[in-house]
């Protein structure tokens, strides 16, 4: 059952990302990504991380991508972007990406073989994570709040139209 879920979610996820790349409409891309992130959330849940899975769905699939869709609507690009002039950059990048894939797989093979057996057991429930956040990771957590405030203010200031314009 677990393996079946894993395979299903993985294929859906990878497929959704491929779909995002292939479609030309930005709105569709964003929707594909909602699917992909939801599948990732499922994978998180399979890995005994229910809290993160929920956060993933709420923040990523929910908030962030909704934000994207809003921006896409505001930007309003007409269909048919002109094709790239520099084709070779794209081709080279794809080749390099494949090389990276191979490298990472090789790294995985050599580095992770002893860890093949999983030491599962600790469930990542919300209360434990909360406890950790407010003890060991208190400072990073508080700093994150500052970061988010700064980002919020920054975004507002950037986008706000000035009176003179």
């Amino acid at each position: 059952m677990e393996l079946f879920l894993f395979i299903l979610l993985s294929i859906l996820c990878i497929g959704a990302v491929l779909g995002m790349i292939i479609v030309n409409n930005q709105a569709y891309s964003a929707l594909f990504l909602v699917l992909a992130f939801s599948c990732t959330a499922g994978l998180f849940a399979l890995l005994d991380a229910p809290f993160i899975a929920v956060v993933q769905i709420i923040i990523y699939a929910g908030a962030i991508l909704v934000l994207f869709i809003f921006v896409i609507m505001m930007v309003d690009i007409k269909e048919g972007l002109t094709p790239e002039k520099k084709k070779w950059t794209m081709a080279l990048a794809c080749i390099l990406a494949v090389v990276l894939l191979i490298e990472l797989l090789v790294a995985l093979k050599s580095a992770l073989s002893p860890m093949a057996t999983s030491v599962s057991g600790q469930a990542g429930n919300a209360s434990e994570i909360g406890h950790l956040l407010f003890t060991k990771y208190l400072y990073p957590f508080e700093i994150t709040s500052v970061l988010i405030i700064a980002a919020m203010v920054g975004a507002i200031v950037l986008v706000k139209k000035k009176d003179s314009e």
């Binding site: 894993f6 794809c94 999983s118």
Partner: protein, 100 residues
């Protein structure tokens, strides 16, 4: 019980797809989406490691990554809007103010 390697392979595939997406897509928004895919791939790897190491630290890091991603998305999208207002375009090829 699924070996962590499987998850990591999925993570790697997602990451490489994110890179390819970044280079293939022509507009800032979908490139940005590709970057988010890469972040998610990394998150998946973190969760996997946390799971196999039996510790919660990996999950906490993912939590932070998600918050930072939210902040980044807010700022990044604001910048994209600004660029669009100025250039009437979000095609990356049209934006080369930094050309030497």
């Amino acid at each position: 019980m699924i070996p962590p390697t499987y998850y990591l392979v999925v993570s790697i595939i997602l990451f490489v797809l994110g890179i390819i997406g970044f280079f293939i897509k022509k507009d800032l928004i979908t490139q940005f989406l590709s970057v988010e895919v890469m972040l998610n791939a990394a998150n998946l790897a973190f969760i996997t490691f946390a799971h196999s190491a039996g510790s919660l630290d990996g999950q906490i890091i993912v939590f932070f990554v998600i918050t930072v991603a939210a902040a980044e998305a807010a700022i990044g999208l604001a910048i994209i809007l600004l660029v669009y207002r100025k250039h009437k375009s979000i095609k990356t090829e049209d934006i080369h103010l930094m050309k030497g």
